[in-house]
Symmetry: C2
Subunit: 305 residues, 2 copies
């Protein structure tokens, strides 16, 4: 069963205190597909401009990403330019050129409408809703969002939230969306808005999976050097949804495994600019990090008598 | 075998956005003992003023804390007054009255000098060193420190660091002490200064154990409401060292278990003002949270084929 992703394909220009890159292949749907394609066939829906170099995504085609939902419009591809601060977490946007993305209207190819698992990457909530309405019988829909939509389109966001099974979100966004200072209270409140599953991403502090009343916590995989954090969240989402789609199972046990694969994938994403590291990545390296995450969290349970 | 702790016994006045308390029993040695006494006999060395109400520590005596190293000096007990901000993490000190603590000179009762495990709570590094020199054959020495000493007494701190097995420290202090932005690089650098074991505390983001090249990560236990974070770090240290002293074992397996008990204990500490919650705590409740931490981190290891 294929996994549908609707999001952006973009060119990112990134500066870090150590290095810089111009027009690196990026975008939420790109990072997502680069990760998910290790697990499952991916159906991608996005828009690019006539300047887009399609050969750049050949490596994704070879890994089973179907680009028949990629529209090429007259004009320029979405571009983002940003700078990371010394801590490699905080960043400032230097420039956002929406270009052809401004009029993005995701129309799914007919064959994509039967996909069982769906990821709505970080696009406007009204577009996300429009995608959901085109699906025939989706079994598991997950979505991303950000502060921009939480503030700017709260009603549209609530309407989309009510239709999804899972929300992937940063810890600060949990507080913003729920209005609660306590993360736990915030999560419970958001669960009443629709998604029974919440994945709370905390960067170098790992991620938490709330599934109904179950809680699973996965540490980040520690990397020696963060090269470029751009796309880590979308790569995480790709590993998460990829695992679920591969197993075609939505149990807590699978969701937990999906968290761990997601964590491993995200750790590779930050080790290169854009999708560079994900391009050459091998399954053996992914398995090795999953094994190490297991070892990092294992202890012998004993009681105090 | 008993566990020695040298630190402070104090009265804390704490304000939070929700509540306040005046002159609550606190101090690093108090929180530490309140936690460690669930696991092992504790030998406490500290100083208080003539205003100290000794009956307040009767509950610790009953749990096997030996106060023969508590000196009572003419004058007032150490007092700290602070205010927590809305996020219940950041705080500002309103007033610090060192009082009799200013001239604290820890002289160990003769019988304490044979203790196998030692915790040097957050006091001046020259006092910590003075304690180490009085020990006969300690098997495992751990210490705490803070930015005040990292900045103000770097040489004394390095001398003490060279004598200990373990350092318990916050993540921001790792960066300060090592001068490295990367946590991993910072930890490796500090390991060359003496302690082969580093426990990096990250508050609500859990704690990491670095033991030589081994890494263990433990999430924080999520509590519904943080009442007062004061003393959480010392309580964590008490749970950690208590476990090690109880087992009289210094293997990685024991250190990992110690991290989990420490995490459970710290989660109780924040649920009341001062040591209130630790006063009434029962072993069954500790075991329950350890069990839940096990469940929170467990997943079935599987490879991507």
């Amino acid at each position: 069963m294929a996994l549908l992703v609707v999001g952006s394909v973009a060119y990112d220009s990134v500066e870090t205190p150590y290095d810089r890159v111009e027009d690196a292949l990026g975008g939420s749907a790109t990072f997502f597909s680069a990760a998910a394609s290790f697990f499952t066939p991916v159906h991608l829906v996005a828009v690019v401009g006539s300047d887009f170099q399609t050969a750049q995504v050949d490596f994704l085609r070879e890994r089973g990403v179907d680009f028949s939902g990629l529209t090429i419009e007259e004009g320029k591809t979405f571009r983002w330019k940003g700078r990371y601060l010394e801590n490699m977490v905080d960043r400032e946007t230097i420039e956002t050129q929406l270009n052809v993305f401004q009029d993005f209207n995701p129309i799914l190819p007919a064959s994509f409408c039967d996909d069982a698992t769906v990821f709505l990457a970080n696009i406007g909530p009204e577009l996300q809703y429009h995608v959901v309405r085109q699906m025939h019988r989706p079994q598991f829909i997950a979505m991303d969002t950000m502060n921009y939509w939480i503030q700017g389109a709260p009603q549209e966001l609530r309407r989309t939230l009510a239709t999804v099974d899972a929300l992937l979100i940063n810890d600060s966004e949990v507080r913003e969306l729920s209005g609660e200072t306590s993360l736990l209270k915030g999560v419970k409140k958001i669960q009443t808005m629709g998604p029974k599953t919440l994945v709370v991403k905390k960067g170098e502090n790992g991620a938490m999976l709330f599934h109904e009343s179950d809680l699973f916590v996965c540490p980040a995989f520690p990397v020696d050097r963060v090269f470029d954090p751009t796309g880590a969240g979308d790569t995480f989402a790709g590993g998460f949804m990829g695992t679920i789609s591969m197993k075609n199972d939505f149990s807590v046990a699978t969701l937990r495994q999906a968290m761990v694969f997601a964590t491993a994938l995200a750790s590779f994403a930050v080790e290169g600019f854009g999708v560079d590291r994900l391009r050459t990545l091998q399954k053996a390296a992914i398995n090795q990090r999953v094994q190490r995450l297991y070892e990092m969290t294992h202890f012998e349970l004993e009681s105090l008598s």
